[in-house]
């Protein structure tokens, strides 16, 4: 049976893993390669490395971190942050990523999804969507959550899938870093709108939150960063609890 994935996310700034609350107040959480290996050993099903302050200046830092992290990692590895072209994507794949995540660049140029998928396959393209509740709808934000686009998140997820995205990484900006639970309503709406897997992100704080997002949110995978780095919840323990709650997980792993 296909299991629900638990994905550890490493937000990287200047070559170091950091974590903030609602995209702000960054705290240092270690070296990316060491964090990735530790999470994989604990049972993370996948590792995502996001360069949250990606600029052309620190592209070399990112590629170096990707190379070092990929070297001893034998679970799927996704890299995102500042990927704006097919060439950017190619250099990240070349450094050892299995999948790339595109966000802002895909919103301004959706055909980029198709170009990367055409060369590397849809399975290698994750479209990351940062969504925020505005009145009764979910709106897409870009540039690290700083810029509103006016697009509806559910509609954009459908379009991204049609362009050739292999997965949607859906972050609730309202919940990010708050540890107050995933936005199950948002996740469920997107999961039912597309046939590709949806990774829920933003708000993980306890095992109960994961159980909820799988049962009620219909997520295929759930991603968390802050709770894993500071030892609040370890992945092995989390998976044990999910297993007891009858959520199919890779356990023992």
């Amino acid at each position: 049976m296909l299991t629900k994935r638990i994905i550890a996310c490493l937000d990287m700034d200047g070559g170091r893993v950091v974590k903030g609350v609602r995209f702000k107040n960054l705290r240092d959480a270690g070296d990316p390669a060491a964090c990735a290996t530790a999470h994989a050993a604990q049972g993370a099903d996948e590792i995502v490395l996001l360069d949250i302050t990606a600029t052309s200046g620190n592209r070399r830092t990112l590629l170096d971190a990707v190379r070092r992290t990929a070297r001893s990692l034998f679970v799927p590895f996704t890299v995102g942050g500042g990927i704006r072209s097919l060439e950017d994507a190619a250099s990240v794949f070349d450094a050892g990523a299995d999948k790339i995540a595109v966000n802002s660049a895909a919103v301004s140029d959706p055909a980029l999804i198709g170009r990367i998928a055409g060369r590397f396959g849809s399975q290698a393209v994750v479209v990351a969507i940062d969504a925020k509740r505005i009145d009764e709808t979910f709106e897409v934000f870009v540039a690290g959550g700083r810029v509103s686009t006016g697009h509806n998140a559910i509609q954009w997820a459908r379009e991204a899938a049609a362009w050739g995205a292999g997965e949607i990484l859906l972050t609730s900006m309202d919940r990010d870093g708050t540890q107050s639970g995933f936005d199950c309503e948002l996740v469920s709406a997107v999961a039912q709108a597309v046939s590709i897997p949806v990774i829920a992100s933003g708000g993980a704080g306890s095992a109960r939150d994961f159980i909820e997002v799988f049962h009620r949110g219909h997520a295929d995978a759930a991603l968390a960063a802050s709770i894993f780095h500071f030892g609040i919840e370890n992945i092995a323990q989390l998976k044990g609890e999910l297993h007891h709650a009858r959520v199919p997980v890779r356990w023992p792993c």
Partner: protein, 196 residues
């Protein structure tokens, strides 16, 4: 020496890295002569079935088939395994090698596609490639088309239906999942291939 065939489909580095980790001698190459001279051959690949067309344009397919006839150990991963069948609905113009019968088909519409993630593998007793792999071990898949269950199936997984996760006959081995991304279980499978 193990040759990893480079025909422009997907990330070969991760496959090489896994063999490097196991201490195996590997070379990534698109040269038919180098592939012909290797002791073992790995045909990886992710993405669209049409990318296998490159094997026919370069003459690599003949080298691969000659190796199979000569009982040289061969491991097809993902698209590489699908190539061992007669073809795929994904691209009817490109034939498969026909080592195993049947065509690769899409998953039923009742389940999510692509099939992405860790799924349990029902292991057939007696497989050389899956030697020592526990029943219902988890392996990582990412694909939209699946190979049919055949008599050579040694490992099966379920996603809307049961499909071949691993096949083997003589020295031809195929896995639909990605052993290079399946943690310790995957590394053990690659180690078994090194020791065939």
């Amino acid at each position: 020496m193990i040759a990893i065939v480079d025909y422009g489909a997907g990330n070969l580095n991760s496959v090489k890295k896994a063999f490097d980790h196991l201490g195996a001698q590997v070379v990534v190459t698109d040269q038919p002569e180098l592939v012909a001279a290797a002791d073992k051959v790995v045909l990886p690949g992710v993405g669209h079935f049409s990318s296998l067309g490159a094997l026919y344009r370069t003459g690599l397919h003949e080298v691969l088939l000659n190796g199979v006839s000569a009982k040289r150990p061969f491991l097809g991963i993902c698209l590489g395994m699908q190539w061992c069948f007669e073809g795929s609905e994904e691209c009817s113009e490109i034939p498969g090698a026909g080592i195993f019968p049947g065509k690769c088909r899409q998953f039923p519409s009742s389940v999510k596609s692509p099939h992405v993630g860790w799924n349990s593998l029902m292991v057939q007793h007696g497989s050389r490639l899956l030697r020592g792999i526990a029943q219902d071990s988890f392996v990582y898949y990412t694909h939209s088309f699946h190979a049919p269950q055949v008599t050579a199936t040694t490992g099966a997984s379920e996603h809307g239906l049961w499909f071949a996760g691993a096949v083997e006959r003589d020295n031809v081995f195929g896995v639909q999942f990605h052993p290079e991304k399946s943690g310790e279980v995957g590394l053990s499978i690659l180690k078994n291939f090194c020791e065939v």
